[in-house]
């Protein structure tokens, strides 16, 4: 009898844990289904080609336009710029903290960086509006500082702590014996870092970059506040752009339920999801390529 109750107890606990694990899968599936269901009516009516239209004019009396290309290019432009700013900076900072800074210095750097990671994006948005945008305006001699570059600077600020923290862990996990081998062959500190430590930590660094960029792609609030939100196709950093995330966030609240516009916003969500999905796939590929085994 006691044995049987033991058995059922073990079973029960197992199922409880399984339910917890299954919930996350269920939610992902539900999100996919829901996004799919809400975006199908738009695709059915306007066709897939509508996504690549060049004009986003969802509210108009004569001719509504749901071309998402400006939003997609806007997101890509801001993300690319942010990546270009954040990745070198983050990796170099991580190398410094992991390999060059003294133990006492590290005690200061690490909490400060974690603090930076904890700043709410709205607060960073304020900082962008009040400090970065005017600065960008001055430096580039523009009429407005609300543009892709300003947005990218803020996004870089958000990605950098992630990149630094995870890269630094990866770099510090490189066995001391590799570095000793390098030094014993007459390599300098810098040679050892570039030719041994960083390559050995590369999979972790790539993961750090991907997580950082992932945060950038999905970020909404700060970019909405500082990019100017003009839905135009441009690849100039000093022009206003409108990202996909900002579009959904800004327009969802006012859109008539069930309208074309409403469904179009869900299509944006699907495109965004596919983009991050693709990014993850690329990251996995890169990781596999560099993972040495």
């Amino acid at each position: 009898m006691a044995q049987a109750s033991q058995y059922w107890k073990a079973r029960l606990i197992r199922y409880l844990f399984m339910a917890a694990a299954a919930t996350s899968i269920l939610i992902v599936v539900l999100v996919f289904l829901f996004l799919g269901r809400e975006s199908v009516p738009f695709i059915a009516k306007h066709g897939l080609g509508a996504i690549f239209g060049g004009q986003w004019q969802p509210v108009s009396f004569e001719n509504e336009q749901f071309g998402m290309l400006p939003l997609i290019t806007g997101s890509i432009l801001v993300t690319l710029l942010a990546t270009v700013l954040a990745v070198p900076f983050g990796i170099v900072a991580a190398i410094y903290i992991a390999e060059m800074a003294s133990a006492a210095e590290r005690e200061i750097w690490k909490p400060v960086i974690e603090l930076l990671a904890g700043i709410p994006s709205v607060v960073l948005g304020f900082f962008g509006l009040v400090v970065v945008a005017p600065l960008v305006k001055e430096v580039f001699g523009l009429t407005s500082g609300l543009n892709a570059f300003t947005g990218a600077v803020l996004l870089a600020l958000m990605a950098i702590p992630t990149i630094i923290t995870i890269s630094e862990d990866a770099i510090r996990n490189v066995p001391q014996s590799y570095k000793e081998a390098s030094f014993s062959l007459g390599a300098s500190k810098l040679q050892t870092i570039w030719k041994v430590t960083v390559p050995a930590a590369l999979s972790g660094i790539v993961a750090a970059v991907m997580l950082g960029v992932g945060r950038v792609v999905g970020e909404t609030m700060a970019v909405m506040m500082v990019t100017g939100n003009a839905a135009v196709i441009t690849f100039s950093p000093t022009e206003s752009v409108r990202t996909m995330t900002a579009t959904v966030a800004a327009e969802m609240g006012e859109v008539p339920f069930g309208s074309d516009h409403y469904h179009a916003l869900f299509v944006i969500g699907v495109v965004l999801l596919l983009m991050t999905f693709g990014l993850n796939m690329v990251a996995q590929r890169v990781l596999r390529k560099y993972r040495i085994g």
Binding site: P175, F183, S184, G186, S188
Partner: protein, 254 residues
């Protein structure tokens, strides 16, 4: 007649980890083209002493050296010594084999590359020569592009020896190079040391006294951070001068 003058001389060397003194007034001459074995119980300072010779202790925080280490008459702790040239001249093999997570070729070519060699042809020559020297060539010549981590423990250690030889050192420091290997691999490493004997000044730290007796010309016995006795291996093992050396060799402690 081979020159067996002092290649490396330590003079009144003291070494500290923080406040702990690990070496006490060590003075010794290590002879050119000879194999010198350092023996002694764990923690006796033999590895620490070995690492002072190519300044590998520099990379450990909070350490301090007093006294001199002369390599070819030049004090390695003086401002006149370039640590990069020093380590080029004095190769090192570690207790745990530590190939880089790169291909076999890139492991061996690493030293030449960091010292500026770019020609693929020259690098290929260096790789082949070094691998032949360490007796690994026939085993790996068809898979030089494979990752070195895929080799067996004994092969990895011979790869590390080849990597050290690739930069043409004059001295080879070996810190218990066979302690993590099985008996067969150990025998191969010992054979390799015998083959290299005469061409390089070799210093080997070992826990294994039979190994010291087999491979070395001279033996130095360390105990509690002090150099107790140094002399011709045969004499140390058959007729040591110091009581402590005799006790250790006959297995009374250690």
């Amino acid at each position: 007649m081979t020159d067996h003058s002092a290649h490396i001389s330590a003079k009144h060397l003291n070494f500290f980890y923080g406040a702990t003194q690990a070496l006490h007034d060590v003075s010794v001459d290590l002879k050119r083209s000879r194999v010198t074995a350092f023996i002694g119980p764990s923690g006796c300072g033999k590895s620490t002493f070995l690492r002072t010779l190519n300044r590998m202790n520099d990379i450990i925080d909070d350490t301090r050296v007093e006294g001199q280490v002369l390599v070819d008459g030049l004090d390695v702790y003086s401002g006149a010594c370039n640590v990069i040239d020093l380590r080029r001249k004095i190769g090192m093999v570690f207790q745990k084999s530590n190939p880089f997570p790169k291909s076999i070729f890139d492991n061996i070519a690493y030293g030449s590359r960091i010292h500026g060699e770019k020609s693929r042809r020259v690098l290929e020559e260096v790789v082949e020569r070094s691998l032949r020297r360490s007796g690994l060539w026939d085993e790996v010549k068809d898979r030089l592009d494979h990752n070195a981590m895929g080799l067996s423990g004994g092969q990895q250690q011979r790869l590390c020896i080849a990597r050290a030889l690739a930069v043409n050192p004059e001295v080879l420091l070996m810190d218990e190079p066979a302690s993590a290997l099985d008996p067969r691999s150990t025998a191969r490493i010992e054979d390799l040391i015998s083959e290299l004997r005469g061409d390089y000044t070799i210093v080997i730290v070992t826990h294994n006294m039979q190994q010291a007796a087999r491979v070395s010309d001279e033996t130095a016995f360390f105990y509690e951070g002090k150099l107790i006795e140094v002399g011709v291996t045969k004499q140390i093992f058959t007729n040591p001068t110091e009581k402590q050396t005799e006790d250790y060799i006959t297995g009374r402690f250690g």
